[in-house]
Symmetry: C2
Subunit: 303 residues, 2 copies
Amino acid sequence: MPLLVTGSIGIDTIKTPYGASERCLGGSSIYFSMAASFFSPVRFVGVVGEDCPFDLPAVFKGRNVDLRGLEVRAGSKTFVWHGTYHEDMNDRTTDHVELNVLQEALPKVPEVFRDSKFVFLANTAPALQIELLDQMAGPVFVAADTMNLWIEAAEHLADLRKLLRRIDCLIINDDEARLLARHSNLIKAAESILAMGPRIVIVKKGESGSLMCSADGHRFILSAYPATVVCDPTGAGDSFAGGCMGYLARTGKTDFGTLKTAVAYGTVVASFTIADFSLAGLTAIAREDIDKRLRMLREFTCF
Amino acid sequence: MPLLVTGSIGIDTIKTPYGASERCLGGSSIYFSMAASFFSPVRFVGVVGEDCPFDLPAVFKGRNVDLRGLEVRAGSKTFVWHGTYHEDMNDRTTDHVELNVLQEALPKVPEVFRDSKFVFLANTAPALQIELLDQMAGPVFVAADTMNLWIEAAEHLADLRKLLRRIDCLIINDDEARLLARHSNLIKAAESILAMGPRIVIVKKGESGSLMCSADGHRFILSAYPATVVCDPTGAGDSFAGGCMGYLARTGKTDFGTLKTAVAYGTVVASFTIADFSLAGLTAIAREDIDKRLRMLREFTCF
């Protein structure tokens, strides 16, 4: 079933203990789309400025990513992010950020995309996520990401609470889940978020893996893939979401058993992302590599 | 097959955000034995002072724990530990400690215990663990725990390295594994410890679960049981070890598949321990409760 993503496209400059990458391609919708495209066609909605140095049609060539929702906005500048990862790689500092086109008007969802059945709203102000969702005609499964910035500010939190009543799944990291739920125990935090609206909450715990809870009482806990090569964690969360949603869109199902496999695919795809800078970890692999690693993950985690 | 444990018996005073317990029964061999006794008969080796306020034969009544290795030493005092757990429960402070009888001569392993095939050497100075191991006649699977104190001091570290060449399995927590291996990545740390001697390393990660690696390249990663009731984490690690070793001793096997199930049983038993103070979480349950939770854990973690 058609899968649509809305999110950022960025010019990233990243330093990690293992190297650095200057002005490389980044952004939530980029990582999401590349990850999801291993499973399902992707409809891409995002905006860059006229200074954008990347040839996105070339980046996604042969990958079944429909870029008709990509706007190159005249007179605007592309989102810029500079970040540094520290020794333990779970901890990062934003050194510099230029929101640029991200603080202007949203890109429009093209008419031909509006019937998408699976939708991922990558992190942005919740009011904008709602505005994007309003353009969709009857999606069957909507997932969204969010961040501390929107949870901590009362006016944004009110919008986030509205959004939560309209989506099926929130994909959120552990610190943000605790912040939103005001509970330090992650299971209780997830249950508290379920009470705010979505029927599925997926909590990303970095190298500790992820936790998924459903409103009807199912739970799933999965380790991260035991990667010994962690070069650059940027995009891990969006790749995880892309792998999940790509698999769901491919199967067209959202029962808990399918969701478990989707989370496992997301976990595996993210493990390839972090092995190299920018998209290099994902562009180096084929679907067979993902399936092989999924079988390994099953062996590593099932008893 | 017979399972022997050597370790401490303590008078614990514990404060947590959920309550307090004064002068309750604690110590590694106590938690280990109670946990293991759900699966296998246990041979108990430990020493208390003449002031010991606990009736251990009554504590273990009907539980198939052979206390012929318990020494009540005249003129000595029992080990005392006071600890406080803080908000996130992974972080604890030792407020007060009296080693007392633990810094005197070791208890002897009774002659009738020396043919034990499965042996757990709970944490103490590695030279003492070696001395205890020397009293055994041909065990088939020896596991040991250790701690930062012995890793950080050069003279103890030399003994620990000797011990590692003589045991089959090291059960250690994540911070200690990183300290011993001098590597922050836990997989690499475990591999580095395998190179020091044992064929199995199990790394305990608290609420993040555990990781097991074998010298022949197998890996297993298991989440903690998703407990929403965490009252007192004291004894979780020793209960984990007890559940693991008890299951192995019951089956008499130590192949990786059996070890995976053993780690799952250890995980489940520990989840009962932390639900209440001292042994109350373990004495409240029967083997069926453990098996039921094991099935739940499989559903929560396998895909």
